[in-house]
């Protein structure tokens, strides 16, 4: 038995129906324009990427142009970290020579400038390390040469709580580059880290390599690299807290 449907119900159904049709046609329209947008943005990124990498290739192909193009920037960068003009000049030269040697490894993932600055940062830290290690300082050794088991014992209690909780840092994360003293101390602390830890940390953070690439380059296991990175971060944090905040913990 079919129930007689009132006119109102029919009307309501019809309105729903038209609304649905209308909405879906609008939806489809938006969807297709969305697809179009996505397509074009992908296509244009591809194009710009090709353009960028060919431009970068051209920049990389003539090493002598590097000196004119990036020399001053690198020099200023080194000078701001090391204060000594002659050392800054030497490091810039070393950077260019290292870049020339490693030219094949540069895949245009970043700009040539970023790539060169990354190499320079390694050189700066190496220089600080040489300077720090020259007069064998006991304090540095005791702070950084803790072995496996001591490492967490010195920092956490038996229940896994902080022995010396992290202090509050008065750094504004959005204007880090203005905090010159902080950055200087950070470089100094990197120079004081055990060499292997500093190397892995810099490959990860400065060169932006994945841990798989780092493991391949250094012949270590993934777990090993994570442990090294953890220790490097812990030690750096601690070093900054001691030297920058002067908090004695």
């Amino acid at each position: 038995m079919s129930r007689p449907r009132s006119k109102e119900v029919d009307d309501a159904a019809c309105t729903h129906c038209t609304r649905f049709l209308f909405m879906s046609s609008v939806g489809a329209k938006y969807f297709s324009s969305y697809l179009k947008n996505v397509f074009w943005s992908i296509a244009s990124t591809r194009l710009t990427m090709n353009k960028n990498s060919s431009e970068i290739k051209a920049q990389i192909d003539n090493p002598e142009n590097w000196v004119d193009e990036y020399g001053d920037f690198l020099y200023r960068y080194a000078l701001s970290k090391l204060k000594d003009p002659s050392i800054a000049e030497d490091l810039v030269q070393e950077t260019f020579l290292a870049a020339l040697k490693a030219r094949q490894n540069f895949q245009g993932r970043s700009t040539a400038k970023t790539w060169l600055v990354a190499i320079l940062k390694h050189k700066i830290v190496d220089h600080i390390r040489r300077k720090v290690r020259e007069p064998a300082s006991d304090k540095v050794e005791s702070l950084f040469d803790a072995t496996a088991n001591d490492f967490s014992d010195a920092r956490f209690n038996g229940r896994g709580g902080w022995k010396h909780p992290p202090a509050k840092w008065a750094v504004n994360p959005t204007s880090l580059y203005e905090q010159k003293e902080f950055i200087d101390i950070l470089y100094h602390c990197l120079g004081e880290l055990p060499e292997r830890q500093a190397k892995v940390f810099m490959m990860r953070e400065i060169d932006d390599l994945g841990t798989d690439e780092i493991c391949k380059a250094l012949g270590i296991s993934a777990t090993n690299s994570w442990v090294i990175l953890y220790r490097a971060r812990m030690l750096l944090r601690q070093c900054l807290e001691i030297k920058w905040l002067g908090a004695d913990n």
Binding site: P63, E64, W66, V67, D68, G71, D72, Y75, R76, Y77, L79, S80, P85, A88, E89, V92, Q93, F96, L97, L100, K113, T114, V117, S152, R155, F156, R159, G160, G161, W162, P165, P166, A167, K168, W169, P173, L176, Y177, E178, K180, F182, I183, L186, L190, M202, E205, I206, D208, G210, T211, A222, S225, W226, L229, Y230, R233, M234, L236, R237, L240
Partner: protein, 88 residues
């Protein structure tokens, strides 16, 4: 032992690990839960972020006297010469 929450030591390890690898969802949830109640680990996490961002910086501060420095022509030539010698 059934682990329903990380302690500070584990959180510090996992927070560092999360910067290099992707963690399973339950670990991420356990970290979040711990971070909700622990201000020290929160600080620790923020400080690791600051370290990462600071080391990646390329910009020099506005008032740095080094900003105006430039290589002398003699140095420029010296570096170019060194580059030539190596590449040939």
């Amino acid at each position: 032992m059934i682990h329903w929450m990380f302690n500070c030591k584990e959180v510090s390890e996992k927070v560092s690990l999360s910067m290099d690898a992707s963690l399973p969802i339950h670990h991420r949830m356990m970290i979040t839960m711990h971070l909700l109640i622990c201000k020290y680990c929160n600080r620790f996490r923020k400080q690791l972020m600051i370290l990462t961002n600071a080391i990646r910086l390329e910009k020099l501060p506005e008032d740095d006297p080094a900003r105006s420095g430039s290589l002398s022509n003699a140095t420029r030539e010296r570096i170019k010469k060194a580059l030539r010698e190596v590449s040939h």
